[in-house]
Each structure stands twice: as C-alpha cells, then as structure tokens.
Symmetry: C2
Subunit: 299 residues, 2 copies
C-alpha cells in the first residue's frame, strides 16, 4: 500500500482505507495517537489510535443522531453534559436548540481539542458560545463528584479499548443516572451492531438495569467500520422510540386510548433548515433494527 493511504482495520481480516493528499498532524498525547489528514473523499479526517473518528464530509450523520434524538425526546432540555466529543460536533448540534441554557463538556485530552480547533471550522465558534463550558478532565471523576444536574447527557466517546474504557461500565452509568433530572436522558456511541453485537447487547442490558427505558438505534456512517453505527439511549421517563413528532404522515401517532405524545414539532421546525440527516421519520425509523440485530438485543 502506498504511503498516502490511511487504513483502519476493524478486524484482522478487513479494512477501510482512504487516500489523503496531506498528513496535517501526527502526535501522541498522554492518552492516544492523534492524526489529521486532508483526504480526497472525506475532507479533513481525525483519527485516534488508528481509528477514524471525524470526517468533515459525513460527521453530521453521527452527530445529528446522537444529539437530536435525545434532545427532541426531552420535553425541555436546558442543561446538557457532553462526555468526550473534543471535536465539538456534538456541542455544535446541542447549541442549535434554543432551550439550552448551559452545555458542559468534559474532554480528557486537551490535544484533541487543540487539533480540532485548528482544522474544523465549526469548533472555535462552538467553544466560544457563552453557553458552553469546556472542562479538560476525567469524566468518570466528574460525574462521580459534581453537584450539577443535567437534562441530557451525551457520551460521545472513542471505542471501549483505550482511554474511554471506563465510560462503558456500570459505575459510570450509575453516576450518570444520579446527575440526570427526572426527565433525564443519556445517549452514547456503542460501536457497530454488525461487528460488535455481543458487546452491544451487554451494554443495553446494563442500561436496562439502571434505567426503566433503554434502546439501541442506528445511523448510516460510511466512515465507520461496517457503515452501520449503533447508538444507545437510556431514559428515566420519556420513551425516545415513541417520541418522534410525526412518525409517518399517513398514520396516527398513538394507539387508541394512549396518552397523546407531546409533539416537540415546533422545536424540530426551528432546527430543520440546518439538519442534513435527522428528520422526525428518521428518528422513529432509527429504532427499527434488522432482525438479527433486534434478536441480539431483545432475544
């Protein structure tokens, strides 16, 4: 392979590669290897520990889905916590919601923040938003000790092997539950259901021990292994799988006799001109899993 290809190997037997015209940065922080490339097909690409994290071309599919599904499920999200997400893509989507009064981000790696400030156009304006507070530190420690409370928590971490390991464990989610308000919702990235379904099944089971409502949902991410990405969501009271403002235009939105679903449709309409992936139908459809994935979660 020529030296201007980057290849990620999600398994020893398969790989995804892209050609780059320039390697913009290659550093090792205290936590991980950080690389930034200018690619032909995906724009600027951030890789951590040899895995693609952010592509300029398609990051919206992941960020819109990890953010707007919980944010438009919650009746009125004012205070939001992001764990990880040093690229500020999640924060950028959060501050699009006019209900938000404060968004706190706890990212462990200052170098990731610095790198993203330099190469992605949305990063500086997002961190400069007066509603945003950036804390460089350990999110496990933060959720254990903070007295702050949040309506929505986003776990926008890297994969479970490496610095993010503890963010996939039960003690962390018990603390997340503690700092969430009564209508609180947490969403998280869980990996590819095609490649990692035993691991993902266990994580959803763990969520269900702690929260009354938990689901897996998916988004199309050509830049991540297998192209199918799994997101987790756990909720104290409102079911995100029932919360889409308008599920299918030709169908009524609730079973006869069931309480009508609060629509949130005005909040969606406010965002809509700036969305490229999410719409209310996509919200609901994302919870429908291919039968083999559904079985690995629900048995």
């Amino acid at each position: 392979m020529s030296e201007n290809w980057f290849c990620e190997y999600p398994t020893p037997g398969s790989g995804f590669q892209f050609r780059y015209t320039e390697a913009l940065a290659r550093e090792r922080s205290a936590f991980q290897k950080i690389e930034v490339f200018r690619s032909e097909d995906f724009g600027i690409v951030l890789c951590l520990d040899d895995a693609v994290m952010v592509t300029e071309r398609n990051e919206f599919a992941y960020h819109e889905m990890i953010i707007h599904v919980p944010m438009l499920t919650h009746p009125n999200p004012k205070r939001v916590l992001v764990v990880g997400g040093g690229d500020a893509g999640a924060l950028r989507e959060i501050v699009k919601h006019s209900s938000v009064e404060k968004a706190v981000q706890v990212e462990i790696d200052q170098k990731v923040v610095d790198m993203c400030r330099k190469y992605y156009g949305w990063v500086n304006p997002t961190y400069d938003n007066p509603k945003v507070e950036l804390i460089i530190g350990d999110a496990i420690e933060y959720v254990k000790t903070t007295n702050e409370r949040f309506d929505v928590v986003i776990v926008d971490s890297s994969d479970p092997i490496g610095p993010a390991e503890g963010l996939f464990r039960e003690p962390f989610y018990r603390d997340v539950h503690r700092i969430l308000t009564d209508d609180g919702i947490v969403s998280s990235q869980l990996g590819s259901p095609f490649l990692h379904h035993p691991q993902i099944g266990k994580l959803i089971s763990m969520y269900r021990k702690i929260f009354p409502i938990a689901h897996l949902y998916t988004t199309y991410t050509p830049e991540y292994p297998s192209g199918m990405w799994g997101l987790g969501i756990a909720s104290k009271r409102v079911d995100p799988a029932l919360r889409a403002p308008a599920v299918f235009p030709r169908q009524s939105n609730a079973k006869k006799g069931a309480a009508p679903l609060p629509p949130n449709i005005e909040r969606y309409r406010e965002l809509a001109p700036r969305l490229k992936y999410y719409n209310p139908q996509v919200h609901t459809a994302a919870f429908i899993l291919p039968e083999y994935v559904r079985k690995s979660i629900d048995g």
Copy 2:
C-alpha cells in the same frame, strides 16, 4: 498490500478490503472477470469485475430486502421473474413464498451460475426446485419479446457500468411494465445513496415516468461500498411504503377514515422463522431516508 487481500475501490480515493485464505477461482467469461475467495471475515466471496457481489456471511441483508419487500407488498405473487442474480440468492428467497407457482431467472452469464453452484450451498437446491426455470440469455431481449406475464420482477443486476448497463435504462423498464400484471411490482438494486445519489435520483425519476408509485429504500450492507445500499421499487397499484403488516406495534396502522391496509401478516408469519434481516417494521422503516438522501430523491 500483501497479495492475500482483495480490495474494492468504489472511488479512486477510498477502498474496502478483506483478507482471504484462498483464491478459489479466477476466470474471465465473455462478459466479465469472475473471482471467488474464501475470506476470514465474510466466508465465500464472489467478485465480478473487481466489485464484491455476494458474501456468504451477509448476503441475506440484500437478498431478503430486494425480495420480501415487493413479495409481501403484492397481494398474491404467483409468477416471478429475476433478471440477473446468477448466485440464486434472490431465487432462494422467492421460493420460500408458498404462493409462488413459477420463478423464471434470466441470467446472461453461464459461468457465474456454474461458479455459484460450486461454492454456495443454497444454489443447487434452489435451481433444482421444480418451480424454477433458468434461462441463460439477455434479459433485455427477454422482456422485450416474451409473452409471459409476471406479478413481481426483480432486477438483481451488477452495477450500471459493464454488462448490466441496459438494465438501468428507460426502454428496459417500459418492457418490464408491459410484462407485469395489474398489481405488478418491480424491485432493483441501484447503488449506494451515499456515493451515487445523483444517479439514483435520476433512476427514481425514470421509474416515476413509467409507474404511478416508485420509491427508494435502503438496507445495511457492510460488504458493499459505504455500507448503505439503495434499492428501487416501482408499483402499478399497491404502495409498498404503506404495505407493512404491522408498522409500529404501539401505533394504529392507518389514518382515520383511510382504507385498512391488507395485512399479509399470515404470509409473513410463514416466512419469519427463516428470516434474518426482514421483519414488518424493517420493511416500513427501510423507506425512511436520511434527510440528505430524501432531498436528492424528492427535492
């Protein structure tokens, strides 16, 4: 790259590769290059003209969706035509339907059939089914001249560059319309909406010139470029996007006052034990497109 990796380049700037333990066959037919590999991650893999066509591990995601969506939309499919599909994966799904009396396949390349008979376990039993008739020939000529009529037509072709080119053109679909019965439905493979959305938008527009109902729907295919695969469907009378037996269990299935949807639920239940991807919810959700894809189709 070491010699025991196969790499497909859907664009000059990106690639998907798998490692193989054995190259089982490498031939050139009158129509194309045919290769078969034993891979570590995907089982037996068939490649035509350097593109992955069939993987033993995940072919079900594509075949179940290109077949059961039209077959469970149609009220009573008895006669089915498959264009292409020499690997017999589409035929295998068709003959699972007890309503089927005859399934005709027109495949241009005898060598693909021979190769698949040798390496995929489902192929011989499928071609040996007495309801199946295999014709080696040009499907464009066949649909132009046949006096047979079909309830469902499946265009299970390779990509639009190469021997399948004419299967992506209007004259072919005018003939398909002619040989379809009054409730007739055609489904087809159209490429990746992520990579090929201008082309796919044009194809759906072409379908809409010929048929009153036409849609794009998608399936997760980690073995095909981008992992998001686009299937087209066009119908004379019944709308496949409204036809799922039970859309969301908690929601009513029809707008107040609308005609109830014919359920086909018994026919689904008969198939269900043998399905790995399709279920009625997946059927309906597959028509919900990410906003950027929806816009490229519906404007």
